[in-house]
Amino acid sequence: MSQAVLETDTAPSQRMDLLRFATAGSVDDGKSTLIGRLLFDTKSLFSDQLEAVEAVSAARGDEYTNLALLTDGLRAEREQGITIDVAYRYFATPRRKFIIADTPGHIQYTRNMVTGASTADLALILVDARKGLVEQSRRHAFLTSLLRVPHLVLCVNKMDLVGWDKAVYDKIADEFTSFAAKLEITDLTIIPVSALNGDNIASRSENSPWYEGPSLLHHLEHVHIASDRNLVDVRFPVQYVIRPQSTTVTDYRGYAGQVASGVLKPGDEVMVLPSGLHSTIAAIDTADGPVAEAFPPMSVTVRLADEIDISRGDMICRPHNAPAVAQDIEAMVCWMDETAPLRVGGKYAIKHTTRTARTVVRGLQYRLDVNTLHRDENAGELQLNEIGRIKLRTTVPLLADEYRRNRTTGGFILIDESTNRTVAAGMIIEAQ
């Protein structure tokens, strides 16, 4: 009831929400064509962009307008005809704004897919109907589950080239479904499409009367993402302390940050870590005035009833629901540095929520073959794009949750202290 009133009262822009998705597929599966289609069908392509692409395509002697040139924005990418880096694309429908992280599919770009997936609500994997599932499709599904992307869509593309044969689709769908079941992928949708012709992209196609599911765009618009957020565990990493130096505002001390999970309300009893001190939320401020509740992903400023010493890197939580205060961490990591491998004994800076510490690698339990999921327990190091399970010891405690429970308080990066490069992405399995 109240919903209906709300919808007529608010501007269209206020009714839209935001969905981030990452795309993955092997070379030539039609990823760029599919993205081009989505942009085209939602009128998000601009004529000067199209003209520029057409001109370059023609100059190169391409037979068709190569929509890949839209996303392959760097000179090196266009020269080599490949996607090197994550490209971000944007489109919107009246229901949603979409952010696409278009990631290259090849194994040497695993780190790019991990990067794109880290913030994604949904992953879209493409396969070529003629080829069926290939090694890469399995790897993409595995990375989706490793990064805990809540929703997965498999597009079986180029259905036009197999005569829209239901049997071909069924075989791929069955095989993928049983593979996904092993990966704890909770929400899987499989759609037969022709990216080139636009079948089942923006609307259901007559070519697949046997397919009863939604078109891709319909699914993207309606997939339920609101409850993907963790609204149970209150986690508020303190980012910055606001203390105005002014004559008009005196004695103000607010803890600014973005709610990682849970719902905070004035009057709530809270605990601050790592000190363990208790207090009560006096107010939750924003520049537009105080609010009655704060929840993810709001950026707010929390004031407490008591004067306690709190600084950046501390965490506000609830007395009976707190993260671990831990210096010994077990985690899956994806190694991202080409200049040096991860080795046991290696020392790095670790950034976790708003806290930075130093850490040493105490052990490498195994290296995972991302194609076969085989665990190599004799591995001595992790090279670029390799994934493994490691043990870390940190100089100061982290305020950490398991990544499977909380993507914000369970994720971290490692930084090489001499080169300042980001060398690893980590997902916490256990913290104590």
Partner: protein, 303 residues
């Protein structure tokens, strides 16, 4: 109504929250941030986000204008009044001064977009800024689509697109050695339409040239340039008075207006939603030079 339905967040709220997070992260981790303020709509929105990020305190860093000397008077006026209202410290790095002292040389065609880069880098060195907020958006241009939120620059201010730091979750790596710096783009995930929706929602004032007005213009290569001290009529050209507005504000000698009747923010939103040409394609002579014009300028240290 479900739990989750009650806690719904609009896309503008989500974008705003992300931008505020980015700004606070910079303030917490850097010594000398500065916000690039041109008086254009993106930098105006960025300034509003900075107000929100640190309220009730004042914006805790200065703003800097790289002044090409090719300005629209309405924009300069607007800049000065914003700065005064917010009590900000304004640093002006002047391209004209740099030409006079020999730091840069005027290009034969008189355009100053490209030569502002050394002026910017010189100011960064002089004031030892370590983080520079820019209003660039990834939807603007294809090289920018590959840009990070925290973009590392070496001691020459150069961008190396093939050697960018991976950016995971919201864990930004701002580490750098002395002399190096980070460009920070809080509006990375905003589109032109998002910016306009936000301007409407927040009732953010803009320089008048963003709205339809009558102006004496000359048509060149399908674009409408204002006839003024920077753009003079060439032989055979005739000027005419048309109803126009500006979609972007850059070097006044290179920025074109678009024909438009949109004289309110609501009408601009309608127009932007219906337009089939990107804002840079419609208004920037400088981007049309080559397929990789933007990438090349960014490598040199441009935003």
């Amino acid at each position: 109504m479900s739990q989750a339905g009650h806690y719904r967040v609009s896309h503008l709220d989500a974008l705003e929250a992300e931008s505020i997070f980015v700004m606070r992260e910079v303030m917490a981790e850097f010594e000398r941030p500065v916000l690039l303020f041109s008086g254009g709509k993106d930098s105006i929105v960025m300034l509003r986000l900075a107000e929100k990020a640190f309220a009730p305190a004042r914006i805790p860093f200065p703003v800097m204008h790289i002044d090409t000397g090719h300005n629209f008077p309405e924009v300069l006026e607007f800049r000065d009044s914003r700065v005064a209202t917010l009590g900000l410290n304004l640093v002006i790095a002047s391209v004209q001064e740099a030409i006079d002292t020999g730091l840069v040389r005027e290009l034969p065609d008189g355009t100053r977009n490209r030569i502002q880069t050394p002026v910017l880098l010189n100011a960064v060195e002089k004031y030892r800024f370590d983080a520079l907020f820019g209003g660039a958006r990834r939807d603007e241009e294809k090289a920018r689509a590959k840009e990070r939120v925290f973009s590392f620059r070496d001691e020459f201010g150069q961008w190396d697109p093939k050697n960018q730091r991976p950016e995971l979750w919201s864990l930004y790596n701002g580490r750098h050695h002395p002399g190096e710096s980070i460009r920070v783009f809080p509006l990375s995930n905003w589109t032109e339409l998002d910016v306009w929706h936000y301007i409407a929602r927040e009732r953010i004032p803009l320089p008048s040239i963003y709205y339809a007005h009558d102006r004496e213009v000359v048509e060149r290569d399908g674009m409408f340039y204002a006839v003024n001290e920077f753009i003079r009529l060439r032989d055979g050209e005739v000027s005419e008075t048309r109803t126009v507005r500006y979609r972007t504000v850059g070097d006044a000698s290179q920025t074109a207006a678009v024909l438009s009747d949109a004289d309110t923010v609501e009408k601009v939103i309608e127009e932007v939603a219906a337009t089939r040409i990107t804002e840079r394609g419609a208004t920037r002579g400088d981007d049309k030079v080559s397929e990789a014009a933007m990438e090349d300028r960014k490598r040199e240290g441009y935003f």
